[in-house]
Structure formats: structure tokens, C-alpha cells
Amino acid sequence: MRASALHDLHLARVPDGAGWIAAAGMPMPAAFPNEGDPATLALADASHWQRAGVKGPGAAAFLEALGLPVPAQPNRWTPLPRGGLIARLGLTEFFIEDAGAIARLIANAPATIGVYPVPRADTALVLTGRDANEVLLQTCNINFKALERMAGQLALTSMAGVGVLIIPQHAKSGADDIPLYRIWCDPSYGPYLYRTLLGIVEELGGGPVGMTGLDHLAPSPSDNIQPTGNP
């Protein structure tokens, strides 16, 4: 069974069996005690979604042949028609997150010259709420307010000393549009980054959010993810 790199940290807050659910084959807490209000500030573990990577000089053509909408420039992302997203991390490197179909497609595709599949087991986080930018100001060195204005942009940067991929999106909270940031990092840094971010989130009056809250915010890739604009 798949397990999140943050499994033990969740276990310390939610006892085994007490409200744990299987999310895409990964045990996750449905809710935390003292959950954060996503409209204000909340942090969630979204590692249960499936990821895949491809790099190499032939990667773009390979993904286009699979029928995927390949972003034309580096540091851009675009939503996938059936949920999930595809991101261009560099000139010849791609990151895909979906319900698992594309990862299987890439794994089963015949070997192609100049195409190198990259297995991805990232820790995936969702930071949301009106005060989310406060957390980024304390942990990152780039201006996310400016990044959000450019639709379809992503950032590869350093967050609390850890190399991360960050995609700004929006979520609905009632009638309001609230900022939502998707964050991915190497799983070996996952527990450190989660603890650091959660410490700041709790200091600012927020808290963790379980699977139930996350589903309301950012539907799983079989549904539609709402992009910031029209990439």
C-alpha cells in the first residue's frame, strides 16, 4: 500500500483507525482535531494524487503523441482535460499529476530515443486561505502576488531551504475566491517542510486540513481543477 511521507506526522495528530480513509490507495486522515479554516489559512497533504515525470530532448514530442496539451514554454502549466495538470519544468522536463492514467501510459509506452521517464514520489501539499501569502513571505524569496497575475505560471524556487515546485491556483470558499498554492517537494524533505509550514500556519491562526476539507478545496484529478486563468 502507498503511504505518504507525512504518515507518521499525521499519526501523531490522528490516532490509527480514528477517521482514517483510503484516498487513492493511500491511508489519510479524513479530518484533524482543530482543523484550520481553509478560507483563512490551512495546510493539507495531497500526496495521494499520482505523479509522473518525463525528461529528455524527445520528451515534448513524446507527450504530444500521447495527446497531452504540452505547455510551449518552461515554467508554465496547463490543466488536463480529465483533471490533473501538466507542467513544463525546463526546456526538456515535464511533470504530470492526474488520477494515475498518464503515469501508467508513460510506463507502458515503448522505449523512445531521447525520452527518459522520471518516477516521481513527491510530497504534495496544498496551502490555502486569505493569509497564505503571509506563509510564503516567510519561507520564499519570490513575489507570488506578481506570479498569480500571470496565468499558467509556475515557480521552481527554494522554500525554507528546500527546492520546491509551486503552482498558484484559486479555490472557492462560499462566494469568495481564495488563493490556493500547490507545493511539491522531494519526499525526503517532506516531513521537514510540512512541520515548518504547519508551524507558521498555526502561528498565524490556521491549521491542518484532512481529506474531507481538501476535497471541497481542490477536487481530486478525476474532477476539474480550476486554473488561475487560461494558460
Binding site: N75, G90, L91, I142, L156, S158
Partner: protein, 89 residues
């Protein structure tokens, strides 16, 4: 905060980068004499001036070349090794 312009990711704090030394063309070991090869292997030019250097943007894994004035610690321009700008060098 010192800033470094990455040719792919734009202006970023220098803490996101790693310095990998001066760009030094390697002489052909089969054709050059021992003195030229030993100079390439062991000697480094520490004199300040405008130098071309290898830099690496850690979060995105981007290698590039920066032209830097090491007297004033000022980055003049940066480009990717395999880019059209590199052809003009």
C-alpha cells in the same frame, strides 16, 4: 539580498544558486604539450576581471553561464550553454 538573473527562471536570490567555477576550455590532451595540460589541470586564474563562470539554479536544475565582473561582483549577463547566445561567444 544579492540577485542573480537565471536565463530560464528570471531574477532570483543568489542563495538559490551554486557556483561551479570559471568556464575553462579544455585543450586536446592528445595534441597539447605537458606544460599546457598541467596548466589546465592544476592552475586557476585568480586575477579579478570580467569572467565567464558556470552557475547552477538548484531548485530547477538549470546550468548556465554568467559573465561576471569579479572586481565589482556584478553580473553582466547570463545565458544557457546550448542557446543561440552561446553560439555567438
Amino acid at each position: 539580498m544579492k540577485l542573480m538573473p537565471c536565463p530560464v527562471n528570471g531574477l532570483r536570490p543568489v542563495s538559490e544558486f551554486f557556483y561551479w567555477g570559471e568556464v575553462r576550455p579544455m585543450p586536446d590532451p592528445d595534441r597539447c604539450d605537458d606544460a599546457a595540460w598541467a596548466d589546465y589541470v592544476f592552475n586557476r586564474n585568480g586575477a579579478p576581471g570580467i569572467k565567464k563562470e558556470w552557475w547552477y539554479h538548484t531548485p530547477s536544475g538549470t546550468w548556465f553561464i554568467a559573465e561576471r565582473d569579479t572586481i565589482r561582483d556584478e553580473v553582466l549577463r547570463t545565458w544557457l550553454h546550448a542557446s543561440p547566445e552561446a553560439e555567438q561567444q
